[in-house]
């Protein structure tokens, strides 16, 4: 794909995203056409829509939609970076322990009825955010011990700590079964009831973290050729790895704080993006982010409407639709997806 075709592709994806957003804003218990949505969005009052519609759009659907978009984008960018860093197609944003840490933090906050707030986050999101950062910090520290720090030790330490953390979550849940439903809903991930404060608290971390990852595209390209090759090209390995892990972790922790541990987006969006634009991270990361945003918006539409008025956790939807879609890609585009050696 040459530069011009790439730019056209990105533009097309952006248009698609905007169309999906306009349609999504109209979907729900009160149905609005895209024209009504546009009217409701326009700053001055409009005859076509009433005050109720404006309120629904502005205080309920728009913040939730934007949050879905930014979380989807952040998870996809982090997933793309971790897949490149670990040279592993199974890597996702949670691979070094962020989800386990976040889940334990949130579970403890819910069951203990924590009231601490900070950084614009409520008690549970704050605990999840801190838990995710702490878990990755522990994994990273363990992987450094003995001077044998490599992507593989990081990956293994992440897997081991994740197991321990999820065991602890189960332990807390089995001892303390009063708030089970809330803990479950949080772990599955959902955007129900999220609004402007959530968005305001996390957008900076997610965009900032993702931009760091994008900036580190060339180091990621080099690392995806193998650590030794990256080293002979003069890349300061541990520093580069540290920055990439930090960028991806800040992004992921903020996503998880706002939306719970939404699965699958961070795994499949990069794979789909790679089918279109190849493995070059300078292109892969932005396209993954756009696709991730699109996918999570669509998944949240389904989560809101499929069994209305009941809301399904969006993490269930991403897995329910993302899984079969991914299997379909594996079956039909095996050659491209299997470009990993």
């Amino acid at each position: 794909m040459n530069r011009q075709r790439y730019l056209v592709f990105v533009l097309a994806l952006l248009v698609l995203l905007i169309v999906a957003m306009l349609i999504s804003l109209g979907v729900g218990s009160v149905h609005l056409t895209p024209a009504q949505v546009l009217a409701a969005l326009s700053p001055e009052a409009h005859g076509a829509v009433g005050a109720t519609e404006r309120t629904i759009i502005w205080s309920l659907r728009l913040p939730r939609l934007l949050l879905a978009a930014i979380i989807g984008a952040g998870l996809a960018a982090a997933g793309a970076a971790f897949q490149g860093l670990f040279r592993n197609p199974l890597a996702d944003p949670y691979v070094v322990g962020a989800s386990g840490g976040a889940a334990l933090g949130a579970t403890l906050a819910i069951t203990a009825g924590l009231r601490v707030t900070g950084a614009g986050l409520g008690p549970v999101p704050l605990a999840a955010f801190v838990g995710a950062l702490a878990a990755v910090a522990i994994v990273y520290t363990i992987a450094q011990v003995g001077g044998m720090a490599s992507a593989i030790t990081l990956l293994l330490a992440g897997a081991a700590l994740s197991t321990v953390l999820s065991a602890l979550v189960t332990l807390v849940m089995s001892v303390q079964n009063r708030d089970l439903h809330e803990v479950f809903a949080w772990i599955l991930g959902g955007l129900s009831g999220r609004s402007w404060p959530h968005l305001a608290a996390v957008w900076l971390y997610i965009t900032g973290g993702s931009l760091i990852l994008w900036l580190f595209s060339r180091p990621l390209d080099a690392l995806s050729m193998g650590e030794e090759t990256a080293q002979t090209l003069g890349l300061p390995l541990s520093q580069a790895r540290g920055v990439i892990v930090a960028g991806a972790t800040i992004t992921t922790a903020a996503c998880v704080a706002a939306g719970g541990t939404i699965g699958f987006i961070g795994l499949i969006a990069p794979h789909v993006a790679r089918l279109f634009v190849g493995a070059n991270h300078a292109r892969l990361i932005p396209v993954s982010a756009l696709l991730g945003a699109l996918l999570l918006i669509l998944a949240d539409d389904a989560a809101r409407t499929m069994m209305a008025p009941l809301e399904i956790p969006v993490g269930v939807m991403t897995a329910l639709f993302g899984g079969p879609f991914f299997l379909y890609l594996l079956k039909t585009r095996q050659r491209e997806l299997g470009g990993w050696r």
């Binding site: 897949q83 490149g84 040279r87 592993n88 900036l215 580190f216 060339r218 180091p219 390209d221 080099a222 995806s224 050729m225 193998g226 030794e228 090759t229 080293q231 002979t232 090209l233 003069g234 890349l235 300061p236 580069a240 790679r274 190849g278 493995a279 070059n280 491209e336 470009g339 990993w340 050696r341």
Partner: protein, 290 residues
């Protein structure tokens, strides 16, 4: 081996090689890359022991020896990938461990044997990475960098394949991508680990010819590990024969490829004939029983 012994032995070997070398480069004995008493260990087990090896400017130095002799280890130590437990490697007279890896990469490129490029970058995107030591990790390429990439692609015959994902290429084509990336680095010193492995006869020959041209026409210094002794004899100006992590001999192919030394290194009897056209040594192994 003490320091004195080591350097004396090295000195002897070099004197021999110069005396015997018909192709010795006129007064070009200045070392650009020099392993000084390097010992390399994995898990406490020394794979290379107290090895002294000086590479001269603009020569092709072939590293030969049986499997497990330490050829790749020496190359990795010289590429600043593996830190010797004792001794050091000098790049233009300075210990390369006192230089940043980027600084080293501006002068020295390694084309490793197995390049596990896991993700399907295109050929061009993979070769562009060779510019990182010069351009850095964040800026877009400048015209000078583009030119270096084009030249590297052209020299390795990869221009028609530039937009293909590396993962879809044949093993031989992938070897050429690794070489092209190293050339895009525009190094003074090129370290090649088995560049002819997995290549068919045509590409083996082309690669070896390219290596010779890089040294003798473009003025690069090349260190190359090779398994095929006859290729080594044709391609290298000097050979270093390794066995069990020690240097058995250094010198022109004619001085190193002799039955006694080879039998000691490879533990198989050989006879050495003359190449019918180039008059270089041709090594033929002898079966113990026919």
């Amino acid at each position: 081996m003490t320091t004195v012994e080591c350097s004396r032995r090295l000195h002897d070997l070099q004197r021999d090689s110069i005396a015997n070398s018909a192709a010795a480069h006129d007064n070009d004995c200045e070392a650009t890359l020099e392993g000084q008493h390097i010992t390399c260990s994995y898990n406490g087990h020394a794979v290379v022991q107290d090895l002294c090896l000086a590479v001269r400017r603009r020569e092709v130095l072939g590293l030969i020896g049986p499997n497990g002799a330490g050829k790749t280890t020496v190359l990795r130590a010289m590429a600043r990938l593996l830190r010797p437990t004792h001794g050091t490697v000098l790049l233009d007279g300075r210990s390369m461990w006192q230089m940043s890896s980027r600084r080293v990469a501006q002068h020295l490129a390694l084309a490793p044997q197995a390049d596990p490029g896991a993700l399907p970058l295109t050929v061009e995107q993979a070769v562009v990475l060779g510019r990182a030591p010069h351009r850095g990790w964040f800026l877009p390429l400048a015209a000078k960098d583009r030119l270096a990439v084009e030249r590297a692609l052209a020299r390795t015959g990869l221009l028609p394949l530039r937009d293909r994902p590396v993962s879809q290429l044949s093993g031989g084509e992938q070897r050429r991508v690794v070489l092209a990336r190293a050339l895009a680095q525009e190094p003074d010193i090129l370290l090649l680990d088995e560049p002819t492995a997995y290549l068919d006869l045509k590409y083996q020959t082309e690669t070896l010819e390219l290596v010779r041209n890089l040294a003798h026409k473009d003025g690069l210094t090349v260190v190359i590990t090779l398994h095929d002794l006859n290729q080594a004899a044709l391609c290298a100006d000097r050979l270093a024969l390794l066995a069990d992590g020690r240097l058995l001999g250094v010198g022109t192919p004619a001085t190193v490829l002799v039955p006694d030394l080879l039998a000691e290194a490879y533990r198989v009897p050989v006879t050495v004939a003359n190449h019918p056209i180039y008059n270089t040594p041709m090594v033929v192994p002898l079966f113990s029983r026919v």
